[in-house]
């Protein structure tokens, strides 16, 4: 169809070697491995984003905190398999026989002491970290998966579809979140997975969907959407190839905020004793409360402080990572005072 012209139009002055970092393809070597090139491109994007992210000290610190909690989550099964005997250190059924009185204050064998039922606090803390991660990440994935699709679809089709989805979002926002979760957990026996699903669905059809839709609206009117339509791209193609990839940075941001919300909600419900889960930071505080130790001031600090501090730290860490990502995603927020 297309022949090569004998005389090439000039390219001089249009700077072809300004960006030495661009993957250059040697077309003369036969087959080109597209997957490999894409991997390199993705790596480059990641590296560029990271170089902006590290400028935020709070973001880095928060990432480190999340890393520490992740290590804690991984260390529990390791410790149980090696140095901790299950009948003493199991977070739910263990009992510290070496102590006469429970709750016992920290000792070498029990660095954070034991609770009123004689169970090791450190073991509970480490065990719970894993649940919090599973809960937070599941809820965040569900939220963002739903919200991104709903936002893109509402913005793209507009009209009736948009009205229905957005009124549903308004309805969900109008519901008081924690109260609704309390009612639901009273009616059904909620485990960690169902809780994550409910939080994810509420967030996904609610506020996050509205935010992502507003972003999708600004993408929808870009000429490259029209260009894709003119190329013959269908609705599915435009939504999933053009709109959603441009929403993903913002989605990632709201994932972080959802993790915070999910961990917080779990702590509240566990504290009220409404969840059907084995152990969590909220349940640890619940146990302290049921035993009447919450009113004892700082005398029984190890019953409250480790779990409380963990909830606060992990929630704020995810939130602050989100804020730091905001600067990567949204160039207008970057400070140029270097």
């Amino acid at each position: 169809m297309i022949e090569r012209p004998p005389n090439q139009p000039p390219t001089a002055g249009e700077g072809s070697s300004l960006f030495g970092d661009v993957p250059e393809i040697d077309l003369s070597r036969g087959r080109v491995d597209l997957a490999l090139v894409r991997l390199r491109l993705a790596w480059r994007t990641l590296r560029d984003g990271w170089s902006i992210f590290v400028e935020s000290r709070i973001g880095l610190l928060s990432l480190a905190i999340i890393g520490v909690f992740a290590l804690m989550a991984f260390s529990h099964p390791l410790l149980m398999a090696t140095v901790w005997t299950p009948d003493v250190y199991d977070p739910v059924t263990g009992y510290a026989f070496d102590q006469f009185d429970h709750p016992a204050s920290p000792t070498w064998r029990h660095p954070l002491g034991t609770d009123s039922l004689g169970r090791d606090i450190l073991s509970q803390l480490l065990f719970s970290a894993r649940s919090e991660f599973i809960l937070g990440i599941t809820a965040a994935l569900v939220t963002v998966g739903i919200a991104t699709t709903v936002g893109a679809v509402a913005a793209y089709y507009g009209g009736l579809v948009d009205s229905l989805l957005m009124r549903l979002a308004d309805l969900i926002i109008a519901l008081p979140g924690i109260s609704l979760l309390i009612v639901l957990s009273a009616l059904f026996s909620l485990n960690l997975f169902y809780l994550a699903l409910i939080i994810g669905v509420l967030g996904g059809f609610g506020g996050t969907a509205i935010i992502l839709k507003s972003q999708a609206l600004s993408i929808r009117v870009k000429p490259y959407i029209e260009a894709a339509r003119a190329a013959g791209g269908g609705h599915f193609h435009v939504i999933f190839v053009h709109i959603i990839p441009n929403l993903l940075p913002l989605s990632l941001l709201y994932m972080m905020f959802t993790v915070t919300g999910a961990i917080f909600a779990e702590a509240v419900l566990s504290f009220l004793g409404l969840l059907d889960i084995r152990m969590s930071w909220g349940i640890m505080i619940h146990t302290a409360n049921v035993g009447g130790y919450l009113l004892g001031g700082t005398e029984y600090w190890w019953l409250i402080v480790p779990a409380g501090a963990s909830i606060t730290l992990l929630c704020s860490a995810f939130y602050l990572v989100g804020r730091a990502l905001d600067e990567v995603v949204n160039p207008r927020l970057r400070r140029h005072d270097g």
Binding site: I2, E14, I25, V32, L34, P223, E226, A227, A230
Partner: protein
């Protein structure tokens, strides 16, 4: 109004009209309309390039989008007459654009393409040059990965982005404005269209890369036999690029003729005003002050009289009383819509 292209016209536009409702509020019927394109007719032959010239907001871009079926007309018809193709997968014969739907529309997109005005916004910033250019091939299901890569490299060479390998996997922000517009041209041409709507492809570029893009487009038109509808506000660009020029004012075509005829012998007062506004390189030349009055207004529910009446220096009582003047052939192939011309 019709052109000299005669019966073998590639595109025949007849009475094309597009009105945009101005929303009056939810659940209320719109009471006002913007008459973006009003009763526009022209013909465009195979391999011919027609310039559509006018001020911003006169409806040029809307005509272009109607032609490539990115928008649907309120009234009027667009008929394409595609020459019988040698290979399958193309529409052939006379096709009414209003009837093209579904699968046919996808095939139609292979033959009619558009180059967009803004090279900075017409490319998805997250996608590499290869993805942008290969998109028409991908959504049309043409070739496998290697075929597409070959074809994209070929077209990159053709639009002067060489060596192709150095450009394939750049993102738009790593290209200059001129390079981006070359990519945009490559995207429109990669699928081998017979008709391309070029919506001010050079207006966002600096002057130095403008001529490069224009000569590239002309060379490709000659080489590949592509017909252009070249939308521009710049008469100098239209003169360089187009066989014929149509001058548009507030949704109406007011004058249409062969390029040189129109420039040498403008009949409509608006065309004259446009020509007198073209800058002259001679500093000693005295220029008459433009003799049109006021500013371009939005065509919201315009009165039926001549659209140019408010600004026309030659307006008479007849212009105020009668409807918008019909287009008449004052000289062979020279059509004007004016009572006083």
């Amino acid at each position: 109004m019709s052109g000299p292209a005669g019966g073998d016209a590639l595109v025949t536009v007849d009475g094309l009209t597009k009105r945009f409702p101005i929303a009056a509020g939810m659940f209320r019927k719109p009471t006002s309309f913007i008459h973006a394109v009003d009763d526009v007719s022209f013909r465009l032959g195979s391999g011919e390039s027609l310039g559509l010239v006018g001020e911003s907001g006169c409806g040029k871009t809307t005509v272009g989008k109607l032609l490539v079926k990115l928008q649907e007309p309120t009234e009027g018809s667009i008929t394409y007459r595609f020459p019988a193709p040698s290979t399958g997968g193309h529409l052939a014969g006379s096709v009414d654009a209003a009837n093209i739907k579904g699968r046919q529309l996808r095939v139609f997109r292979r033959q009619v393409q558009m180059i967009f005005q803004d090279p900075y916004e017409s490319m998805n910033p997250r996608r590499a040059v290869y993805d942008t250019i290969a998109e028409p091939l991908l959504v049309q299901g043409i070739g496998d990965v290697q075929d597409r890569l070959d074809r994209v490299s070929e077209i990159l060479n053709l639009v002067g982005l060489t060596p192709a390998g150095a450009f394939l996997f750049r993102r738009p922000h790593e290209l200059s404005g001129g390079q981006r517009q070359r990519v945009a041209i490559a995207r429109a041409l990669v699928i081998g269209p017979s008709f391309v709507v070029a919506d001010e492809p050079t207006s966002m570029l600096d002057v130095s890369s403008r001529t490069g893009i224009m000569s590239l487009m002309q060379e490709l038109a000659d080489r590949l036999g592509i017909a252009y509808l070249y939308i521009t506000h710049d008469l100098a660009v239209a003169r360089y690029m187009c066989h014929r020029i149509a001058v548009m004012y507030l949704g109406k075509i007011v004058e249409m003729a062969e390029t040189e005829e129109l420039l040498r012998n403008p009949l409509h007062p608006y065309t004259r005003a446009l020509l007198s506004a073209v800058p002259s390189p001679d500093p000693m030349r005295r220029r008459d002050p433009p003799d049109i009055l006021g500013d371009l207004s939005l065509p919201v529910d315009p009165p039926p009289r001549c659209r140019f009446y408010e600004r026309c220096p030659m307006a008479t009582d007849r212009c105020a009383a009668d409807v918008h003047p019909p287009s008449e052939e004052k000289a062979p192939g020279h059509w004007v819509a004016c009572y006083e011309a």
